[in-house]
């Protein structure tokens, strides 16, 4: 296992270059602020150097594969696993191992899928894995915040005890601020986006055991 996960080149400047194994990071911000792109890029950053990608999506696996392919040369079935909770039948041919779950509310199914795919990675000798969950906001549409909170706590603990890197997205304008704050408390660090008065997007980085960065333009 490597000592750190490379996360450089993600944001302007060098506010975030690498993260230790077992880190959980949430990308949060309003709708259409580019969180999803940043999360996908973060998932894909170590891929060319042999890391694996295991992503839970509330969209179809095909959509995530297409999006990931914008960030990597080509996807290799041995190193990409997708847990598709959209209820699609999984009949399409994709360059990824897939587990199809009937609904985002089937948390047991998601956890079994996660365990299965991580075993596949182990069997293939892939030790450094970036786990994605896109998105927490969709889970919150299907379940109480209490249930989602518990799931995320257990999930982040799984990431930290296996030395993986966990990457999550959360819409800040779809939920009560109180719920957003509560969820944020589960992660080691946050990359936060907002739109300023001029209609431009800015970001800051909070957590990771250091002082928050000031808001900076993208």
């Amino acid at each position: 296992m490597s000592d750190t996960y490379d996360v450089s080149g993600l944001l302007p400047g060098s506010v975030l270059d690498e993260l230790p194994p077992g880190t959980n990071v949430a990308i949060i911000g309003p709708t259409m602020s580019g969180k999803r792109e940043v999360a996908l890029q973060l998932l894909a950053t170590g891929y060319e150097s042999g890391e694996g990608i295991l992503c839970i999506t509330t969209d179809s696996a095909a959509k995530i594969c297409t999006e990931l392919e914008r960030h990597v040369d080509s996807l290799d079935q041995d190193r990409v696993g997708i847990i598709d909770t959209s209820g699609s039948d999984g009949q399409e041919f994709l360059n990824a191992m897939t587990e199809n779950i009937s609904s985002p509310s089937d948390l047991t199914g998601i956890s079994i899928g996660t365990a299965k795919l991580s075993q596949q990675f182990t069997n293939r000798g892939v030790t450094d894995i970036r786990y994605g969950l896109i998105s927490i906001s969709t889970l919150l549409q299907y379940m109480s915040n209490k249930k989602v909170f518990k799931f995320l706590h257990v999930y982040t603990k799984r990431i930290s005890s296996t030395g993986a890197l966990g990457i999550y997205t959360l819409n800040t304008d779809s939920h009560d601020l109180q719920v957003v704050n509560m969820m944020i408390g589960l992660f080691d660090g946050i990359v936060e986006f907002r739109e300023n008065e001029a209609g431009e997007f800015e970001f800051r980085v909070r957590g990771f055991g250091r002082k928050s960065t000031p808001w900076q333009s993208l």
């Binding site: 948390l107 956890s111 299965k116 379940m143 603990k157 109180q178 509560m182």
Partner: protein, 213 residues
Amino acid sequence: MTDHGTPVILVVEDEPSVAEGYELWLADQYEIRLAYDGQEALETIDDSVDVVLLDRMMPKLSGKQVLREIRNRGIDCRVAMVTAVEPDFEVIEMGFDAYITKPPERQELLDTIEQLLDRSTVSDTFQEYHSLMARKGALQTQKTETELAGNEAYQDLLEQIETKRAAVDDDLGDMGSDIGFVSAVRDFADDDGDFEDSELDDELAFNETEEDE
């Protein structure tokens, strides 16, 4: 499940000498009940049982069938499969909470039982942890970071959160284990929906009352 007192372990094993061997190891710390086949296990089991050690291969009813019936009846206990063959993924999918390979070491058996007993308290600890975190989330919406930094009650809350988080993690055990992870999620995944707008307010009200005591 018992709330207090000596935990009750049900050993289901068709080989009497093996069953009695487990009893010898465990009787100091737990109340042991023995069943020599699946049918007897289902006649014996009730809500007072905390942990079931279930042999995989038995005549008549298999361990898998017994597990299914235990879950169907909604009995709140943890079930460990005891198996001579290295289990495949099916064991996780079937809903076992742990597995023990035969023949087990005494310490391994004791450790597994302790972990499963811890797990049976996680539901309450989790509830309290969620309440505290909801409260923190609410305070963050009401006050600025500077105000919170100087607020003693908020600093107390942060300490309580750290203590509770450690308790939850201790109860959960090793989440790097596939079966432990799936079993931990399954514990709350099937809870009935508590999807109400007021749920956070309820949590807060609950906390206020608690503090008055």
